[in-house]
């Protein structure tokens, strides 16, 4: 069936800010989808509040609106742009929910907008728990016994009939928010209350627990005439009970015979046929390991995290094909983009193994519970490809960048057999390390399987890794053993450690024996057809398919898994730089390991290597590709960290010199430069030990900032107010071996300013100066950032421009530089310089219209800024204001402290663009999901030093009609100053106290500014956690509160739409 020519203008809804459960995969899918639509001559209108995405580029869609993803704003866009169709399946659950809302209220019909790529009935059948159940019953597809409840009482009663444990699944939520396995009535009531609140429709499914069964997923596609195919199936190593987003996943399935494989495949095709899907769909199964019994767990009638993974695992571009199907094409009419010979109507065959591992945020949330359950906690993931399972696992582990390179790196060796067995029962992110230790201690596969329910096949593979560890530490390292260790992807460093040799020695031996990585192609068809797309993975043994070309060539290092502090914005930068290098005539080679991103789409660079970003893995590629240079300044800290190694390999670093990168990071060198440039900075010292740190702090005077050097996202950064704090922080920092010193700086409470600039070594272009709403001390990634600056004097501004110029010159910057300043009155201090692209670059690019990364890339290649057409110095400020708002995922991470500080905690961001500051701020809050007022009740409890600041804020909330509750101290100050505050009892006092009030579901906002330092009260922690888990907005800075009240005051103004 050819394309439907009635479709001329399509609205695509993005997925908004990155939160746990909805990450970069939707930028990948959305970008691919939009490009596929445009390829067919369709005009694409895009709405997405997330400015760090590639899909919000002017090159990707025709009309781009960076506006909040609410029904109100989508309606405005529809009215203005008058699209004839809406494609809702590319924007994850957020996009799908919005489309449903507009459909259900009849708005789409009224505006003559049709849904394409799915129907409302399809969405309902898949997403509405009851309808889904009826649909499955109709086609005799089994599901776990379950019942939808809308109140706690019904839930309790039904659970009695099933027997505990039972599983709770709220309808229409992301990443399983608010769900989980509960083991008794008390847990049921707690979780169910929460789930009912989080569900858009107030429904929660209470379900028979099938924990321990195999969890299998199928990615399937269907077109408008009913052709159906399977793209890929996947097996979770962690059995049912762990959210698939937090599971280690392998593709294709490993422990299913053809009978089971085909049984589930037929079922999945049966389901999409009944649901009348036109596009991609994900079906999740629980398979009884002891029979052919299975249950359908869930169906996602849209592109998803799993579909992104399946696309990368197979080379089959699901989002692209889904977009073409939405336009009316059938699968047999769409060309296979990899082979360019075959068609989309086929099933990819893998001749390798793919492993996905989740990137969990427990390094950021030290107090959080590491247990994994049905609520997703991972912020990102890595994927590895190898021709054996062990090798895939080893590569995935080191791709995570968690200071872990092997199954020995979490040390459980001190546990005895009994303790290990009980440790095995804990389902957390370190379980495979516990299994490895259990194998070392001789616990049988059967016993490990009995406790963990992990299939014996996987356990045996972990045992193979352990066996090779043992051989390396006990046998003579001969050629056979070295080959075996490399076959299963042991890094040289590990081989060296185990065999008591040096890493260089191993490398030399390896090269002498010609044991080198070879590269195989991902071609969708297991070699059956000649493929055109150069998408490679490494393995040892066999022939090499990656052929070196002799064109001018640049290596672009990606940024690895999405984690707090290093998010999607670095993928934006990597991709844009790759595109610019291509335009400049370079052959581009990307190395990255994140399956969710655009950069790992096989048609971004000329060559894609899906590999870990460690020096050894990179060097193996360098050996083959021999690039003319590498660019490290766009891939975040992951890429920067590789600078020294690349130089050692003889690869020139393009752009800023490695020694200058070093100068920016090295305290002493940097201080010297600042001195030369006559730029002040807060006084500080470099230390290694706690004792030195305390001495330094006392010399500088508390409060001080303590942090390790060479980190991103403020990892380990803390504000210390006394010696005890320092002891505490140093202990935390030193949990990971520090190669670099620790910095102790005088903490200046001022306005935080951030600048991104492009420099060609001579001239500089500053697209904009940004100002943070929160005062210094809150990590820049967690602060509300405003562009252009609203409250700085011209003197301060010109100082900032001047300092930026001096620094860029002194550091011989070629490309990007990011500088953070503190303005205290008219004084300006430099606090941090990053000789690389930063988190704010995508948003500033979009707001100013300056293609910053392209310019930086051209500067790197030797073009002068003067010739680029954007002028030099600081760019004229635009007539609009943009406010970047951080977005957090605290409700997903049980036990995480939500108070903001120098360590970054947000997972994503959204942007509000307005004609003026208030409008932009309002949009930013709405985009971040803060939709007020609801009950007009709030709690204010702040530490003494903030009490005076909160008076004005409280007055303004009161003027808006808010009822204010406060703990004694805060209430007294407020009442003394003319604010009516109702005193509530503290947590430790008898109820009803502050906690009961929060749990009553009538509170809109909690303003809780905790004490600084480690003493930051435990009470406050409990209050903040409970508030978050009850869905209350919690603000831990008076600056944020002030911004919020301003935004609420201006809410009634007419809001404009701004097209970028």
């Amino acid at each position: 069936m050819p394309r439907n020519n009635d479709i001329k203008k399509v609205l695509v809804i993005g997925s908004g800010p990155i939160v746990i459960g909805q990450a970069a995969e939707f930028d990948y899918a959305g970008t691919q989808g939009c490009l596929a639509l445009r390829e067919e001559g369709v005009e694409v209108v895009l709405i997405n509040s997330n400015p760090a995405t590639i899909m919000t580029d002017k090159d990707i869609a025709d009309e781009v609106y960076i506006e909040p993803l609410t029904a109100e704003f989508v309606k405005k866009v529809i009215k203005k742009e008058k699209p004839d169709s809406l494609l809702p399946t590319l924007g994850g659950q957020a996009g799908l929910n919005l489309a449903m809302e507009l459909f259900e209220e009849g708005f789409l019909k009224k505006e003559n907008v049709r849904l394409i790529g799915t129907t409302s009935l399809t969405i309902k059948k898949a997403e509405d728990r009851d309808t889904f159940k009826q649909t499955m019953e109709k086609i005799v597809e089994p599901i776990a016994a379950s019942k939808v409840v809308e109140n706690v009482k019904d839930g309790v009663e039904y659970a009695k009939t099933l027997g505990y444990p039972v599983v709770l699944r709220p309808a229409y939520t992301l990443g399983g928010s608010g769900g989980g396995i509960v083991y008794n009535e008390k847990e049921l009531i707690e979780t169910l209350e929460n789930g009912l609140r989080l569900s858009r429709v107030g429904q929660v499914l209470v379900e028979r627990c099938i924990a321990g069964w195999k969890e299998i997923e199928y990615e399937v596609m269907r077109d408008g005439i009913g052709n159906v195919i399977t793209v890929c199936n996947m097996e979770n190593i962690d059995p049912v009970g762990v959210h698939t987003g937090d599971s280690i996943v392998v593709a294709p399935s490993q422990t299913l015979g053809d009978k089971e494989y085909q049984m589930l495949r037929s079922s999945a095709l049966n389901i999409i046929t009944e649901l009348n899907i036109t596009g991609g769909c994900n079906v999740q199964y629980a398979l009884n390991p002891d029979s052919f019994e299975y249950c359908v767990i869930e169906v996602n009638p849209r592109v998803s995290r799993s579909s992104a993974l399946a696309s990368k695992a197979t080379g089959y571009p699901i989002a692209k094909v889904a977009a073409k199907i939405a336009l009316g094409y059938t699968l047999d009419e769409i060309k296979n983009a990899v082979t360019k010979k075959t068609y989309a109507a086929f099933e990819p065959m893998l001749d390798y193994v793919v492993i996905k591992m989740p990137r969990l945020p427990f390094d950021k949330f030290i107090s959080a519970k590491r247990e994994l359950g049905t609520q997703m906690k991972a912020t990102g993931e890595v994927m590895s490809i190898c021709n054996n399972f062990e090798g895939g696992l080893m590569k995935a582990i080191r791709s995570l960048e968690q200071h872990v390179n092997s199954l020995l790196d979490y040390d459980y060796s001190k546990l005895d057999t009994e303790s290990l067995k009980s440790e095995l029962q804990r389902v957390d992110d370190r379980r495979i390390w516990v299994i490895a230790e259990a194998i070392r201690k001789g616990i049988s596969f059967e016993e490990i399987h009995k406790i963990t329910k992990i299939d014996i096949w996987f356990i045996s593979k972990i045992a193979n890794i352990v066996k090779t560890e043992n051989r390396l530490s006990s046998e003579i390292l001969d050629e056979e053993l070295l080959k075996e260790a490399k076959r299963i992807e042991f890094p040289d460093s590990l081989i060296a450690k185990l065999s008591n040799k040096g890493e260089e020695e191993i490398k030399t031996l390896r090269y002498r024996l010609d044991i080198r990585a070879v590269y195989k192609m991902v071609d969708t068809c297991a070699g059956e057809f000649k493929a055109q797309t150069p998408y490679f993975y490494s393995c040892y043994g066999g022939s090499n398919e990656a052929k070196r070309s002799y064109r001018k060539k640049v290596l672009v290092l990606g940024s690895g898994p999405i984690r707090i502090g290093q998010g999607i914005e670095f993928d934006f930068c990597s991709v844009h730089s790759t595109w610019e290098f291509k335009r400049l005539g370079y052959e581009t080679v990307i190395i990255n390991n994140n399956p969710e991103t655009v950069s790992t789409d096989f048609d971004i660079a000329d060559k894609l290597y899906f590999e870990p970003l460690t020096p050894e893995d990179v060097e193996s590629i360098v050996d083959i590709e021999k690039p003319d240079g590498a660019v490290v300044q766009f891939g975040g800290q992951t890429a920067i960290k590789l600078t020294q190694s690349l130089m050692k390999m003889g690869v020139p670093i393009l752009g800023t010199d490695a020694k200058d990168v070093d100068a920016a990071e090295d305290r002493e060198l940097f201080d010297k430069i600042l001195e030369e440039c006559k730029i002040p900075r807060p006084r500080g010292e470099t230390v290694y030990k706690a004792k030195e740190a305390k001495e330094a702090a006392n010399r500088l005077g508390y409060p001080v900032l303590v942090r390790p050097s060479y980190v991103l996202g403020g990892q380990g950064m803390q504000i210390a107010t006394n010696d005890n704090d320092i002891d505490g922080f140093m202990e935390i920092i030193n949990r990971i071996a520090q190669e670099h010193p620790i910095l102790v700086d005088k903490y200046i409470l001022g306005k935080e300013i951030e600048v991104d600039a492009v420099c060609d070594g001579k001239d500089i272009l500053i697209p904009g100066i940004m100002e943070h709403i929160e005062r210094a001390g809150v990590h820049s990634g967690d602060s509300i950032s405003v562009y252009p600056v609203q409250s700085l004097s011209d003197t301060v501004k010109s100082k900032i421009v001047e300092y930026t110029k001096r620094l860029a010159k002194a550091l011989h910057i070629k490309g990007m530089i990011n500088i953070q300043f503190i303005a205290d009155g008219e004084d300006v201090y430099v606090i941090e310089v990053n000789p690389r692209s930063s988190r704010t670059v995508p948003y500033i690019s979009k707001v100013t219209g300056v293609p910053i990364i392209s310019l930086a890339t051209r500067a790197i290649c030797g073009e002068s800024i003067k010739d680029m057409g954007f002028g030099t110095g600081i760019l004229r400020e635009p007539d609009l204001v943009a406010v970047k708002m951080p977005v957090f995922s605290f409700e997903k991470i049980k036990g995480a402290d939500i108070s903001l500080g120098p360590e970054m905690k947000s997972t994503g961001e959204c942007l509000g663009i307005g004609k003026n500051f208030n409008e932009a701020l309002y949009k930013a809050f709405v985009g971040a999901g803060i939709r007020l007022p609801k009950h007009k009740k709030m709690i204010i409890t702040v530490r003494d030093s903030e009490k005076s600041k909160v008076i004005d804020i409280a007055k303004r909330f009161q003027a808006l009609g808010y009822i204010i509750y406060s703990t004694k101290g805060t209430a007294k100050v407020l009442n003394d100053n003319g604010v009516n505050a109702i005193v509530i009892r503290k947590l430790e006092e008898e109820g009803p106290n502050i906690l009961d009030l929060i749990l009553s579901h009538e509170i809109d906002i909690v303003i809780d500014v905790p004490m600084r330092g480690i003493a930051g009260s435990k009470d406050g922690f409990i209050i903040r956690r409970n508030a978050i888990e009850t869905g209350v907005n919690v603000l831990t800075s008076t600056d944020t509160a002030k911004a919020l009240v301003s935004s609420l005051e201006n809410e009634k103004d007419e809001i404009s739409l701004i097209k970028i």
């Binding site: 095709l269 893998l350 070699g527 057809f529």
Partner: protein, 355 residues
């Protein structure tokens, strides 16, 4: 113990011997299925061939005897990247290593199967020699390798005696050219009484059985080799009995009605091939295993027309016979291994017998 695969182009692949340590000369073909290695090994259509599995991890779920597609494995050898040391599945009864040794089948593991597959793709299907004797001299054995051809395999794989499988519905005579068990199972599942007869059964003997329908099975080798069988099939074509033919059966009846067949460069072996139904425009993912195909340019339009075409390479995948209750497919609606999407064809056959 080391084992070697020497191909007729002179290339040598070295691996580990994990099966029987005997020599074998065979035609080397690759299969891209990711599951179903036991079904592949026991599919009689592979008689005379050694199979390269492109999926690198084989043997993960062991051997479940009920999944065998015939009473024994027919492949001359198995060539894999890695054979799992541990088999895990609730139905697992034996390891693949044991199974291979018990059935005297050589197996080489540790081979760069992707490289080998690409070589077969570029060069076309080749003969090869599997040995554990490292003292071979390539030049000396090349002649022997080149001389080999797959011969007499239909007779070898067909049942020697007729037998019948009970059923209360339609009576189907299944001519066994090396039939996979699941063909009969599919018919029985639909209530049919199935009488399986040897490949050389005469048409008049078949007619004596008063079948409601005749099923021509899959099977190994070059279809044109079966001159006598083709003669008998022509006689069956001349009756009005509904006929459904699969794979070799499809080729044989095409030959019987005047069309020609040819050898494909490297065949279709796997579970992901798209075939398009030319009548409805629908595409189905099919299970395939064939090295020969019907040459569409030789079809007499008054006798039959193409019914299915391979979406990838445009080769013929099925024929519809004019004014006859006969339809034939090149692929495997009985699946095992592979997708079951085309099992509706058996329903179509039943309906044809009922009409």
């Amino acid at each position: 113990m080391k084992a070697y695969l020497i191909l007729e182009d002179g290339s040598v692949y070295e691996g580990e011997n994990v099966g029987a340590s005997r020599e074998a000369v065979s035609e080397i073909v690759f299969n891209t299925s990711m599951t179903g290695y036991l079904e592949v090994m026991t599919d009689p259509s592979y008689a005379g061939q050694a199979v390269v599995m492109t999926y690198p991890l084989i043997g993960n779920y062991g051997i479940c005897h009920e999944d065998m597609e015939s009473d024994r494995p027919w492949i001359d050898g198995l060539i894999v990247r890695e054979l799992s040391e541990v088999a895990s599945n609730f139905r697992n009864e034996d390891s693949i290593q044991n199974f291979l040794i018990k059935n005297n089948i050589p197996c080489i593991c540790g081979i760069d199967t992707r490289d080998l597959t690409k070589r077969l793709r570029e060069h076309g299907t080749m003969n090869g020699f599997i040995t554990v004797d490292s003292s071979f001299v390539v030049e000396k054995i090349l002649q022997r390798i080149k001389e080999y051809s797959v011969k007499g395999v239909v007779k070898r794989t067909s049942t020697k005696e007729a037998y019948s499988l009970p059923g209360k519905g339609k009576r189907v005579v299944l001519i066994d050219f090396g039939a996979k068990k699941n063909i009969a199972r599919q018919l029985q599942k639909r209530g049919c009484e199935v009488i399986v007869v040897p490949c050389d059964t005469k048409a008049k003997e078949i007619l004596k059985l008063k079948p409601d329908g005749i099923m021509l099975s899959n099977g190994p080798g070059d279809p044109k080799e079966n001159v006598d069988i083709i003669e008998e099939i022509k006689k069956l074509y001349d009756t009005d009995i509904p006929i459904f033919a699969i794979c070799l059966g499809h080729q044989l009846i095409a030959l019987a009605t005047g069309a020609n067949t040819y050898k494909l460069r490297y065949g279709h072996r796997g579970g992901n091939h798209p075939v398009k139904d030319l009548e409805t425009g629908r595409t189905y993912i099919s299970s395939q295993n064939h090295g020969y195909a019907v040459d569409e340019s030789t079809l007499d339009k008054n006798i039959c027309v193409p019914a299915f075409v391979n979406v990838n390479d445009g080769t013929n995948e099925g024929l519809r016979y004019i004014n006859k209750k006969i339809f034939t497919v090149q692929y495997h609606p009985e699946a095992c291994p592979g997708p079951r999407d085309s099992s509706y064809l058996f329903d179509k056959f039943i309906k044809m017998m009922e009409d």
